[in-house]
Symmetry: C2
Subunit: 222 residues, 2 copies
């Protein structure tokens, strides 16, 4: 029974990693559709979101089944409820990829921009943070989780630089206002993905501390 449950927890973890991979790919391709002005690719991302939504429901049902049938211990219960929360965060990161793709469709209709600023750099960092946050959850690695929270400041700095560059460009009228606003929204979407990764990482840190405290109380009681 316990071995079977352990296998189910591994299954839950695997499903979550699969979800993570699909979402990371959606983010990368959404930014690619913007950089390469590939509207067909952008539309694929928008349509592909349905797959992410279905996977979210599947993982959600599986997690609830595990709690109801296996009556997990406090530590396993926390693992499963965190997996459910991460599942929901990944789905929302997928929504951000859709937002980026929608902005790409709009921007690709206009004349090409000279530069897309540091958006690819932001995208790379945001997807790395998301991947690392999942790893830190599975490995219960509070140190890695803490590093993610620090990377979030780096991501915010990149976003601030993009904002200020676009503001300058609008002032000098070297970019049309609607285009600049669309690019600001893309930077904002990438920042949101970083926030979702940070939410996950903060939970990992909190639980790591929480278990330590509980462990300490248990020891004193014995």
């Amino acid at each position: 029974m316990q071995r079977h449950f352990d296998e189910e927890l591994v299954q839950l973890k695997d499903k979550l990693f699969k979800m993570g991979l699909i979402v990371e790919e959606a983010i990368q391709k959404a930014v690619e559709s913007l950089m390469k002005r590939d509207t067909k690719l952008a539309e694929e991302i928008i349509q592909g979101d349905q797959r992410i939504n279905i996977l979210e429901i599947e993982i959600d049902e599986f997690g609830h089944e595990l709690i109801a049938l296996r009556q997990p211990t406090a530590v396993d219960l926390r693992f499963i409820t965190m997996a459910l929360k991460i599942n929901s965060d990944l789905e929302r990161a997928g929504d951000q990829a859709v937002n980026i793709a929608e902005n790409a469709v709009t921007l690709n209709r206009e004349i090409p921009l000279k530069t897309h600023l540091e958006i690819p750099k932001m995208a790379e960092l945001a997807t790395k943070m998301l991947k690392d946050s999942l790893d830190s959850f599975v490995e219960r690695d509070a140190v890695q989780a803490k590093a993610i929270c620090e990377q979030d400041d780096e991501l915010d700095d990149l976003k601030d630089r993009i904002y200020s560059d676009l503001q300058q460009a609008m002032k000098k009228q070297s970019i049309e206002v609607p285009q600049a606003v669309s690019l600001i929204m893309v930077a904002h979407n990438l920042e949101r993905i970083g926030d979702l990764a940070t939410n996950i990482a903060e939970d990992v840190i909190y639980v790591a501390k929480g278990i330590d405290i509980r462990h300490h109380i248990t020891e004193r009681r014995e």
Copy 2:
């Protein structure tokens, strides 16, 4: 034992309502601090977020305790895990109130703007949606939940109008670009609150459907 558990579920619901009230107040006051150029009030909102974070942890712990100790049925389990998810969404809505307050601090430093557009209208609708989404969850009212999803379109329309008004104002140079971008971000923050309310409402609809299906299967089996 069952009566005790029922009381605990009511307690969980009450705690969530308390959290909802505090967050709604934070959103309203954040917008007020912008409209009345009240930087002191904005700073109170920023500092008050700590209280919301502590309340989130308290509710999270309480929900986990209930699952671990009471081994709830499928329906009660779904109620508790949804409460945990809503708890996390409310905390994020509180973060949006902080973002609005931060933008208010920045904007209040500048010369007064002629108009703040339809931002108060957006704020009113977004907080109403959040309140209604909590009600629909507790009442398991899928009809009310559906209405919230429709209001989200209304909120998006308001945001689009604000965006386009600000874009026009930037073009005519009747507003400085950094100020316009700050106001765009406030509109975006309010839209995010509407999204969080919609997430809650969508879960209510999904669970209502899910329970119907399960109920139907149970009936067939009997």
